[in-house]
């Protein structure tokens, strides 16, 4: 029993790390531009599929390195040609636009790679369990946790200490003032959007290694990311991280006792959090 609980908590933590990675990208875009990027899951799928196509040529590591960058480039192209036009409009429009884009991306991956589940192979030494007693602790899972940790740490370092990161944070509070201080807001948004999509692409490659690839992978993972953001509190990146991990562990634990409720539980958790604290765990009062 303890092993089962440990297994599911650890599993939940990994899933939670995913959600967090994805939700952080969503959150970045949401905070600076007020765009709810429904297509984020689509970008995740694209990241995974690009890595799948690249690995035969440049190997797993090459795919892991290159695919998120290519995904970010695709995202940037779409942002600077189309999504940019919707900034400052009613959020309704960007929501509908990215909603349509999510459809196109999902169907596009189905068109190019087919709708069957594709296996995504990770290096063999990684997929072996590390110990017999804790069979679930494969090298790949451990690697994922480490990589996500490193990525999140890097993200927070960028946002805290680099000039562009400070500007992004300032922009989420008051973009107009940032603009009058002479910052090129257009570039700032570009960079921010690219960064968000990079995280989605990276999450996509990691998800592919664990779950395999299918076109609906994005739309399956996007809703929990929304929930993670809401639980953590809109506008707060540490909150998003916390929210992602929380719902991961919650759904992992529920799998032990009541498997069919493992999806519903995160919404129940969200309801509880909001009933007690309407702005989410770490959200600022009155910002949204």
């Amino acid at each position: 029993m303890t092993q089962l609980i440990l297994f599911n908590v650890f599993n939940g933590l990994i899933i939670g790390a995913f959600y967090a990675l994805m939700a952080l990208g969503l959150s970045l875009i949401l905070n600076l531009t007020n765009v709810i990027n429904f297509a984020h899951g689509g970008f995740l799928a694209v990241g995974g599929y690009i890595a799948y196509s690249l690995t035969p040529y440049i190997g797993f590591w090459g795919g892991l390195l290159l695919s998120p960058i290519l995904t970010a480039v695709i995202g940037l192209l779409l942002e600077s040609t189309l999504i940019r036009r919707l900034y400052g409009r009613d959020p309704l429009y960007s929501l509908l636009f990215t909603f349509g884009l999510a459809f196109v991306l999902e169907d596009g991956t189905r068109f190019f790679w087919g709708s069957a589940t594709l296996p995504f192979s990770v290096p063999t030494w990684m997929s072996a369990p590390l110990s017999l007693q804790y069979f679930f602790l494969t090298g790949y899972r451990l690697f994922m946790v480490l990589l996500v940790t490193a990525t999140v740490a890097a993200l927070f370092c960028i946002l805290t200490w680099t000039r562009i990161g400070i500007r992004i944070r300032a922009g989420t509070l008051d973009l107009e003032t940032v603009s009058t201080l002479g910052v090129n807001v257009r570039l700032l948004r570009n960079f921010n959007f690219g960064l968000g999509i990079y995280l989605a692409g990276l999450a996509g490659v990691l998800a592919a290694g664990m779950l395999g690839l299918q076109p609906t992978i994005g739309s399956d993972l996007i809703m929990p990311s929304f929930v993670a953001i809401i639980i953590g509190g809109l506008g707060s990146l540490p909150g998003t991280l916390l929210g992602g991990l929380l719902i991961g562990v919650a759904s992992g634990l529920t799998t032990v006792f009541f498997p069919s409720a493992s999806e519903v539980v995160i919404y129940v958790l969200m309801g509880l959090v909001l009933a007690i604290r309407p702005r989410g765990l770490l959200g600022e009062e009155g910002r949204f």
Partner: protein, 319 residues
């Protein structure tokens, strides 16, 4: 004078819409449709118009109306299948279930605004989808709820056979459409409706006038969701089936795009949007497997080029 002119234009428009709806079974075949498609348009339009009560006239963005639409559908289907084999009772239960869910969730949701409101409605909407999807032995899970069908309705004087997809079912649906739309129109003309418009235009000002905006938005939300679940019950009756997809966020998005496409600021806009969307989806999905891409591109094009909606553009041109 101009105002009088506008008012008579509006009345002409109303008459034209009602005339078209009343005579639909007689002309739909000549334009290449069929009565069942027309029925579907009316039902989906009711859902889109209910959504627009909130979106266009109260100014808050709900992206989770499919939940209440689907609750109506499942409430009806489950009641007829397991409890009472009676169409009207099933409908009543469906509407009540949707309304209750809206009442309770509304308490949490209406405290937020803008994108936060949108995200909460999206997220809460998914709960019911997963319940329907996972609770296999009751709801049929992914396969949907089948094994039941709508039954003849017995009125005091005689029974109305609506079991076939013909004219009698269409007019049965139309009666509910007329009542629901009539109530919404009357509400919008009442002081309550004017207050909603005031909140839409400037919430802070409404607050300063002493209006409890949260409560008004909550009431508007409940009304909107209730009529959406009414549409859901009719939709389940139309198909003799409830689909978990009816509850999913993509369905919510469909309702929003219908309202935007037709024109959120006009009462009949969502009806036109629904007609275009349903017919287009019916056509595209019969032509190609990649219908999702077409619908997706359609969304993007509408947002980039038709933000004011078809009726909105028409109105601007004529003024």
């Amino acid at each position: 004078m101009a105002r009088l002119q506008m008012r008579s234009d509006k009345r002409l428009g109303d008459i034209a819409v009602w005339a078209l709806l009343l005579t639909m079974p007689f002309w739909i075949n000549t334009v290449g449709g069929y009565t069942q498609l027309g029925t579907q348009v009316v039902i989906v339009a009711l859902a889109a118009m209910s959504l627009n009560f909130l979106l266009g006239y109260t100014g808050v963005l709900s992206f989770g109306h499919a939940a209440y639409f689907g609750l109506g559908a499942y409430g009806t289907g489950l009641t007829i299948k397991y409890l009472v084999p009676n169409t009207l009772v099933g409908m009543a239960v469906g509407v009540l279930v949707g309304m209750l869910a809206a009442v309770v969730l509304g308490l949490v949701i209406v405290r937020s605004r803008g994108i936060y409101f949108a995200m909460l409605t999206i997220a809460f909407g998914q709960v019911f989808y997963f319940v329907a999807y996972r609770w296999n032995n009751v709801t049929g899970g992914d396969d949907g709820l089948s094994g039941w069908q709508r039954l003849p309705v017995s009125l005091g004087l005689g029974t109305l056979d609506i079991t076939r997809n013909g004219n009698s079912f269409y007019y049965f649906v139309l009666v509910f459409f007329v009542v629901a739309v009539g109530i919404m129109a009357a509400l919008l003309r009442s002081p309550f409706g004017r207050t909603l418009l005031a909140i839409r235009e400037n919430e802070r000002r409404a607050l300063f006038l002493g209006i409890n905006t949260n409560r008004h938005i909550w009431v508007s939300w409940v009304i909107s969701c209730t009529f959406a679940s009414l549409a859901g019950t009719l939709y389940a009756l139309l198909n003799n089936f409830a689909d978990p997809h009816d509850l999913r966020w993509d369905q919510s998005g469909d309702f929003v795009i219908m309202a935007v496409l037709g024109g959120m600021r006009s009462f009949w806009g969502p009806l036109i949007g629904a007609a275009i969307f349903v017919v287009l989806q019916d056509y595209i999905s019969s032509q190609t497997e990649n219908w999702m891409s077409f619908i997706g591109v359609f969304f993007m094009v509408v947002v980039l080029f038709f933000q004011r909606g078809l009726l909105g553009m028409f109105r601007r041109k004529s003024s």
